[in-house]
Subunit: 161 residues, 2 copies
Amino acid sequence: MHRDEPLRSELVYRPIGVVHSPFRELAEVPKQPFDAPDVRGLVEIDPPFRAGLADLEGFSHVFLLCHLHRAGEARLVVGGDRGTPRGVFATRNPRRPVPIGLSLVRLIAVQVDGLEIAGPDILDGTPLLDVKPYVPAFDARPSATIGWLAGRPGLDRPSDR
Amino acid sequence: MHRDEPLRSELVYRPIGVVHSPFRELAEVPKQPFDAPDVRGLVEIDPPFRAGLADLEGFSHVFLLCHLHRAGEARLVVGGDRGTPRGVFATRNPRRPVPIGLSLVRLIAVQVDGLEIAGPDILDGTPLLDVKPYVPAFDARPSATIGWLAGRPGLDRPSDR
């Protein structure tokens, strides 16, 4: 395998907005959206990007990609549940080399300046990088196996939220 | 709503590796992983990050977050299928303000230096930002509704791949 040198270079992104949620401290944030399915949040999209919200009506769920601005220093091995160390790429821990979070949330309403959502596992004030529509044919694999997470409470089946 | 000024600032990320696939040109890349479920690919993780691969064994699927290095200039309104213009955040089109791709692929094998995968909808040489384990409880919503995509061939149910 070979690689071109430019692929190693740094990437510069500018956020497109910010997520507002009731969670002001990391300890308050649910570990995943299904832990707080009825919590509401607002996705504020900055004016230059609002035209990109067209046609989101009718999607029940969206992915939010966020910059985890308060994740802290990256680690390659993190504490899994029950204290066992786990490779970070086998976890959803925020302390990742590239601190981007992936959150699946319910889309409640599309507004001129952003989105009303339910179920954010996101700290208030988190910079937003992208919104993607959730499409089961692309994104739903209900029978996927979950390695070391098998048998953990609540992880044995897809959420219905 | 208010926001702190630092949230608008630019973010700098360094890729953790690169994706190798049979697709050398954009026109060859399937639109989503399920369009080429048996195509194989390799996810090469750079040496400083390889320790983070521990414990991925047993997960049948992973998400790859990639920098879409050949997406071209961002657009807020893109051609949907059948030529109808659509807001980019209601599509999975790569020409996004922040050009990050989200791909769900099957995990075939975990190696010392990376991952063997199946089903990449990814151009050969694409910089890799993150690997996340796929967990149905977090990520599978088989009954999600899909807005303007409703009725499109192949999108009426979750893939079994």
